[in-house]
Structure formats: C-alpha cells, structure tokens
C-alpha cells in the first residue's frame, strides 16, 4: 500500500518520503495534501525521497507530476533522490512540457448570455445574407457560362435529384392520394356528395400537396445529403483546397446543386401529381364502385392547367430553398465529424420550415390574386 511521510529539515526544506506500492488502481496519497502543508508552513525546497517505493506505475508519475506542478506554482524548488531511472526520465519529459497560460474559466451572467446570443444571431443573419448574395452572383455567372464547375458533377446531381428520387416520391404521393380520398369520401358521404372526391383529390394534389410532399421528401433526402457532403469536404479540407485554387466553393458546390434541384423539382412534382391522383383513384373507384375511367374524367374536368402550373411553380421555389439550406448548412459546419451530422440535421429542419413558410406565403399571394 502506498504511503507518504513528511518531515522538516530546518525551516526551509520539506522532506517527503514515498513508501510502498504506488499503483494507479489503488488508493494513493493526494498531492493536494502536500500543497496544503506548504500553504500552512511554507518551504523553499521540497526533497522527494523514493527509496522506500517497492512498486510503481502511472499512479506514482501522476502524483509526482501534480507535486511538481504545485511547487512550480508556489515557486518552490524540488529535488529528488532514489527515483528509478525510467521515472526520472519521465519526469524530465513532463518538466520540458510547454505550459501555455490557460485562461481561468469565468462564469457568464444571464444578461451577458442574452447579449452573446443576440450577437451570434446577428452574425448568422449577416452570414446568410452574404451566402445568398454570393449565390446570386455565382448563379449569374452560371447563366452566362462563366461559372467554374464540372459538367459531369452537374449530370450526376441531376440524376440524384431527379430519377434517383422517383421511387420514394411515387410511393409517398400515391399514399397521400389514398389518404386524401379516404378522408374526402368519408366526409362528403354525409352530404351525399362523395362523387366530388375526384375534384377534391385532383385539385389538392396538383395545387399544393404533390409539391409540398415531394419537397419534404427531398429535404430529407437531397438537402441532408448536400449538407453532409459539403460538411465532410470541410473536414477533409477539400473546400479549402478549392478556395486556394481560386475556385469559389459557392460556384463549384452550391450552384450546381441549386440548378439541379430547382430544375428537377417540377418534373418530380408532375410525376407526383399523377401518382397522387392515381392513389385517389384507387380508393375512389373502389369505394364508390365507379369505373376508373369515370373517376379520371371527373378529375380532368375539375383540374385546370392553372392548378398544375401553380403547383409546378411552387415546387421550383421549394427545390431552390432545399438546395440553399442544405448547402448553406454544409458550408457553415466546423471541421469535425460531429458537425457533419449536425449540419445534415439542421439542413432538414431549416429546409422543412422554409418550405412550409413558403407554402403559407404562396397561399396568401394566390388568394390575393384570386388564383
């Protein structure tokens, strides 16, 4: 068992005898006891005598390290005798270690915390404005053919955002069509108007639901992927490599994704329109015992080109928002693997919030203009 014995040699020297087995896993004397003794009765020298140590491992080194640190703080000289050679070399290594001043931790009051958050928020707004501005300029360069990006990347992005998303978009919208038809028939039957379910499903899907549902699916799929890809590129310094080559990351990474998703969203939404109507038709024709052709005829009579065009226009805006939030979250991520996951999560959350907010704005504007 480890023990420590202290005695005085004159007024100025504290002799510390270390005895027994000093193993990390055992209960060991604390260096703070020695520090307290020095505080009560100051000394100019601490003499360590380890001749009585029978066994030791990192436990003894940790103790000596703490003693050395404490003595250094107090300006007390340390001498030692009887230390094993390897232990002496280890202490020499520790003593050579750089000791940069560490700032004392200061408790922050609530008012200061509020202030700091406000400053961070202001900084975020500023960064968002800069990002949007930079993206607008880069998009301008893309339109006139002066942006730097790889054509094959753009092709792959189109493929990923469009055909790659078709199965999930088809499934989700078909199910939404089914749900709408169920709810519609159940409610309309009370008024004997269940045959209007084709109108309700058709108009709801083409005007709003197909674009909205597709956008939410794409926010979880493409938005999160964009954020994770770009955040990973930041971790591996690929973004820095682009910058130092003189290539704007916004031109190279953001604009192709923005273009791909904005252009592919209307196509996906058109496909989603069809799947939503088919989902409604599957339920409608079955529950009402109506022929499928009759259901589809009713849908085509109620849905106008304006409904479809409005839905497609909204979807393009949603696509733009998903790409912007995804890439922005990726670019603002810090260089750590944890931040990659965080960027993907934030991209989905902000993307979905942006889509729903935009949907609300569209409803209001369309209402104002009587569309």
């Amino acid at each position: 068992m480890a023990a420590m014995d202290t005695s005085r040699e004159g007024d100025s020297t504290l002799v510390v005898r270390l005895l027994g087995a000093w193993r990390l896993a055992d209960v060991l004397p604390a260096a703070s006891d020695l520090d307290r003794e020095l505080a009560l009765a100051p000394a100019t020298e601490v003499r360590l005598d380890a001749a009585g140590v029978t066994e030791w491992d990192s436990g003894l080194v940790v103790f000596l390290f703490k003693v050395l640190e404490g003595c250094r703080t107090r300006g007390v000289a340390v001498t030692h005798a009887g230390l094993p050679g390897t232990l002496e070399r280890m202490l020499a290594l520790v003593q050579e270690s750089a000791l940069p001043p560490t700032a004392p931790s200061v408790r922050v009051g609530w008012l200061e915390q509020v202030g700091r958050r406000a400053l961070r928020w202001r900084e975020q707004v500023r960064a968002t404005a800069l990002f949007v501005g930079e993206t607008t300029l880069a998009l301008g360069r893309f339109v006139v053919g002066r942006a730097r990006f790889r054509g094959q990347d753009l092709g792959l992005l189109f493929e990923g955002a469009g055909p790659g998303a078709l199965p999930i978009v088809a499934l989700v919208n078909f199910l939404v069509g089914i749900i709408l038809a169920f709810v519609g028939i159940t409610q309309l039957r009370r008024f004997g108007a269940e045959y209007y379910v084709a109108d309700i499903v058709g108009i709801a899907v083409t005007r709003d639901m197909a674009a909205l549902i597709t956008a939410i699916v794409l926010a979880g799929r493409s938005g999160a992927a964009y954020a994770a890809q770009i955040a990973t590129m930041k971790v591996t310094q690929e973004v820095d490599a682009l910058r130092t080559l003189g290539i704007s990351p916004v031109e190279f990474l953001v604009v192709p994704r923005l273009v791909a998703l904005t252009l592919m969203m209307p196509f996906l939404t058109l496909f989603a329109d069809l799947m939503g109507v088919l989902g409604g038709a599957a339920v409608g024709s079955t529950m009402m015992n109506a022929p499928l052709a009759a259901y589809m005829r009713q849908t085509s009579q109620s849905v106008t080109t304006g409904d479809i065009a409005g839905g497609l226009a909204k979807s393009a805006v949603y696509g733009m928002l998903i790409a912007l939030t995804g890439t922005a979250r990726g670019l603002e991520a810090e260089r750590s693997s944890e931040r990659v996951g965080e960027a993907a999560t934030k991209a989905v959350v902000t993307g979905v919030v942006a889509i729903i907010a935009a949907c609300g704005v569209f409803q209001y504007v369309f209402f104002l203009f009587g569309w």
């Binding site: 390897t86 070399r89 290594l93 270690s97 000791l99």
Partner: protein
C-alpha cells in the same frame, strides 16, 4: 529465456489469390524499437494490420508473448489488444472530442478509475508529449505535428507494453519528424515500452531503430534484418540502395 514480446512466425499475407509477402519470420524483444521498412506498396502497413488483427493471414501466426494472437478467440484478442497502443498514420483523433476527451476515452472504457484520477492521467500523458495546457483544444485546432503528439498521448493512455506506429513522419516536415522521433525514443526510455514502427523514412530509421526488417516488394519476402547502420553498410544491395535513396522503391 523469456518469450519475445512479439513474434511473427512463417506469415503469408495475401489479398485473395494475390500473395503480397510470404515466409515472414521475426521476433521483437522487450524495449526494442523495431522498424519494418521498405519502399511504398511493399506491404509494410499490411504487415502492421496483420499484427493488429485488422487483417487475417493467409497462413502463419502472430504471437504476443507466448500466446498466439492469430488463433485466439475474440475475447482473448480483446484482452491482448489491451496491452497494445497504436499511433495511426493520419493520427485518427476523434475530431468531435477535445484532446483531453480523446486521451480519456480508453481510460474510461477499460479502467475503473474515478473521473478525477482519469483527468490527472490525461494531463500527465499530454504533458509527456509536450501538450500540457492543450487539453481543451480540438484536433482541428492543432498543427499536424501536434496532432501526431496528441495521438501518441492517446496511444500510451493505458501504458501499453507494445506501441505500434504507422509512418510517424508522414505529412510532417523533416524537423518536426525528427522531433517526433526524439519523443518516441524518450518515451521508450521513460516507459520501457516496446515500439514497432512502420516507415520508409531513412533518417527516422537510422535515428530510432534498434533493429530493422527490410521487406522487398518485388521478392515478396523479407530480405534483411539487423541494426540499421549495419544494414546500410553491409546489407544486400537492394537494402543499401534503399538507404542511399538510389533505387526507386
């Protein structure tokens, strides 16, 4: 006579049907710094992966002391690996953690030490590699050399008997590489750890190795073993050319 710390017996390494290296036979003794050297792509890092159980040999065995690591079951392998520390070529620090958290993780997972004691050990290990005061830094806030030293602190957190180091000077400038070499020597002296280094850096080999093994990628076998200065002056031609830098390996 005591068993060697690590023994590789008649080891053949292969990827599918393609044999990379065969008939490897060597022993590493306690307290040695044993360097596995050779040109790029000769199979040095693959040998390291075999010694750590990250890849299975086509034939042959690796022994830790008297125990066969290759034939051991998962639980025994885990127990044996507890005696080992590894410094990876790219540092492999967990970027979401601070340096203190990186070093503390093995202690938290594999010891029953109280948090206060773990913190003390973490401070000590970081001090040993000259990073005392950097506990709260994240890896990405440090230079490449400091990251390597922090990874070294993590590798020695559990006082390993054997320390494996993959390309210590990779991506470091020569002075920083030499400083890291000195640190490896000092840690070996201070901790008494056996060190296995995989490298093609001639200055590093001559600076730290007790003995070295030369892997010849073309012959697919080890062609020389011994103290590096002896290999440089009296080794086979391919080895002398390697030290002279006259042969592209």
């Amino acid at each position: 006579m005591a068993d060697p710390t690590l023994r590789v017996r008649d080891l053949t390494m292969a990827f599918g049907d393609r044999v990379v290296m065969e008939g490897l036979d060597f022993e590493i003794r306690h307290g040695e710094i044993y360097v596995v050297m050779g040109g790029s792509g000769c199979g040095k890092s693959t040998l390291l992966r075999h010694m750590l159980g990250l890849q299975e040999p086509a034939s042959g065995e690796v022994f830790f002391g008297a125990e066969s690591f290759t034939r051991a079951g998962p639980a025994d392998r885990e127990r044996m690996l507890r005696r080992v520390g590894v410094l990876y070529q790219g540092s492999a620090l967990w970027t979401s953690m601070t340096l203190a958290e990186n070093v503390a993780l093995p202690l938290q997972q594999f010891t029953r030490l109280p948090a206060s004691r773990i913190q003390e050990v973490v401070e000590l290990k970081l001090a040993l590699v000259g990073l005392h005061g950097f506990e709260s830094f994240h890896p990405w806030e440090l230079s490449g050399g400091m990251q390597k030293r922090a990874a070294l602190a993590r590798a020695i957190a559990l006082d390993p008997e054997i320390l494996f180091i993959d390309e210590p000077s990779a991506s470091l400038d020569p002075p920083t590489g030499r400083r890291l070499d000195r640190l490896i020597l000092e840690l070996r002296d201070a901790l008494g750890t056996t060190v296995v280094v995989v490298t093609h850096d001639v200055a590093s080999i001559l600076g730290i190795a007790t003995r070295a093994l030369f892997l010849d990628g073309e012959a697919r076998r080890a062609i020389a073993e011994g103290p590096p200065a002896e290999l440089r002056d009296h080794g086979p031609e391919a080895v002398r050319a390697f030290f002279a830098g006259g042969k592209s390996l």
